[in-house]
Subunit: 297 residues, 2 copies
């Protein structure tokens, strides 16, 4: 399985990176617009795990769809994710000079270019889905509605404003933390899984199961991230440990304690894997889930 | 006509402002998300002429559509316009502390809130069109494709990056200036007129005429803006005159000379009005065109 999983994953990632290049081709011949495209591609090509587009592609396949059906929504969600990273790194937001070991977009280009590259990557996804050549209009409309609502003020962007406002507060409790993450990171993971099903024309029950799997995956991933910041060695984590405590940050470990956090992560992982039993041929997704959630073991 | 025109215009604006409030209702009950909504509404409610949504509504009516058909695209385009103003005013962009006589969004709230309010207003329009209850799926897909492509890197955002890059150059010529404005301000005006026709289910010939009218309107408006900055008194203009020259800015007056600029604005105005002759019942739009383009006379 291990070898086959890696091959499949590499194939998915290579397809996704091809879509991203194809969908960002600059046809203007204008120097300044080419620079904008360069900034968009710089951030899109920074790598990362491509979890969201892989989830779109795989849920589409599990529901009987083809790779052509999931190409547009897969590229679209990676663009939305990338736009959020570019804007999150800006000086007025998290002020991060580095992202995945390279200068962040506003350091590699300029702050103005990074704002506009993020803006373009927030809008282009809707054009890509609308202009797709294989999906039906009614499917496109569902995908666009789902992706936009998962992104806007009731979704990811809502989670970001809560996260920023929480930095000024010292009364952030478990409920607030769960709600914030359910929006900031949870919504895009859920819409990724749902969009895969919708693109394949799946029924509502399949969409509901995919959504439920995604909720558990997203929350477990976040809890484990917080645990790793406390228990890892710097070598294991690939970045400084203990940065949350140093920044006086409220995490699942600070609100729940480390034992309860570990128990909840384990329960969520098992529940997520159980949902996948209801999809035939879900070995790849189980391996992906295990890889994402078993990082400390 | 004057009185009837004003009444119709006030009715349109009041409808549009109602849509904008309805489409930005916060249902979260969360304090931070409410703040985001407040920032979005602060900028949406700053007034302005509402030219773009009025053009959507009026072209929809001229093509036999109802106000219900144009409600979503009209609100959507005003949100895109507002998102661009919020981000344009940011310190890393034009660094404007005031907008329409009030503190700009990042001054009234914070820079982070303004970035996120702009982001939300860039994405929400696509949800509003996708979730509309009267338009067909195929019409929604056309509207979304048209609006997104007019906004992204090949549209308005492309024009913004050219404008910013041009500030560093001293060789901006007439061709470059025309191209920059055709994207930065022209694209949204054109998509406004086209979307009105598309929402009403108009044929391609009507859409082409509306687009041609909009190109002339947009360019004439920009040329007149540049003329006014030179020939107006401060009292007439409502803002300091001569600011372009003071900022050493390339304008249609600097590249064409004032006489040629006036001639071209007059020609474009006449051509725009002639196109409106091809639409029955276009008196309101003619009055609007005359008001927008006759500001100095």
């Amino acid at each position: 399985m291990e070898q086959k999983y890696k091959e499949l994953m590499n194939g998915y990632i290579s397809d996704i990176e091809n879509y991203l290049r194809r969908y960002t081709e600059d046809k203007s011949g204008n120097e300044s617009q080419q620079k904008l495209t360069e900034a968009m591609r710089y951030s899109l090509e920074a790598g990362g795990k491509r979890i969201r587009p892989v989830l779109v592609t795989e849920f589409c396949r599990l529901c009987g769809g083809t790779p052509e059906m999931s190409a547009a929504p897969a590229a679209a969600i990676e663009m939305i994710h990338t736009f959020s990273l570019i804007h999150d790194d800006l000086p007025a937001m998290d002020d991060d000079d580095f992202r995945r070991g390279r200068p962040s977009c506003h350091k590699a280009f300029s702050e103005a270019t990074a704002i506009l590259a993020g803006d373009a990557l927030a809008v282009l996804p809707f054009q890509i889905i609308a202009d797709d050549s294989v999906l039906d209009s009614s499917i496109k409309v569902r995908l666009i509605s789902d992706l936009a609502s998962a992104t806007a003020g009731a979704g990811m962007i809502g989670g970001q404003i809560i996260d920023i406002e929480n930095e000024k507060r010292d009364d952030v409790d478990e409920e607030n933390l769960r709600y914030m993450y359910s929006l900031k990171t949870g919504q895009l993971i859920r819409t990724a899984c749902r969009m895969g099903c919708i693109a394949a024309g799946a029924d509502d029950e399949k969409i509901r199961l995919a959504d439920s799997y995604a909720s558990k995956l997203g929350l477990a991933f976040q809890i484990i991230d917080d645990i790793l910041d406390v228990v890892s060695t710097e070598e294991e984590l690939g970045k400084p440990v203990g940065s949350d405590a140093e920044n006086n940050k409220t995490t699942f470990v600070t609100v729940m304690g480390i034992e309860k956090a570990k128990q909840e992560a384990d329960s969520l992982t098992n529940e997520a894997l159980e949902i996948l039993d209801l999809f035939p041929d879900s070995e790849f997704l189980k391996a992906l889930t295990a890889e994402l959630l078993d990082r400390r073991k």
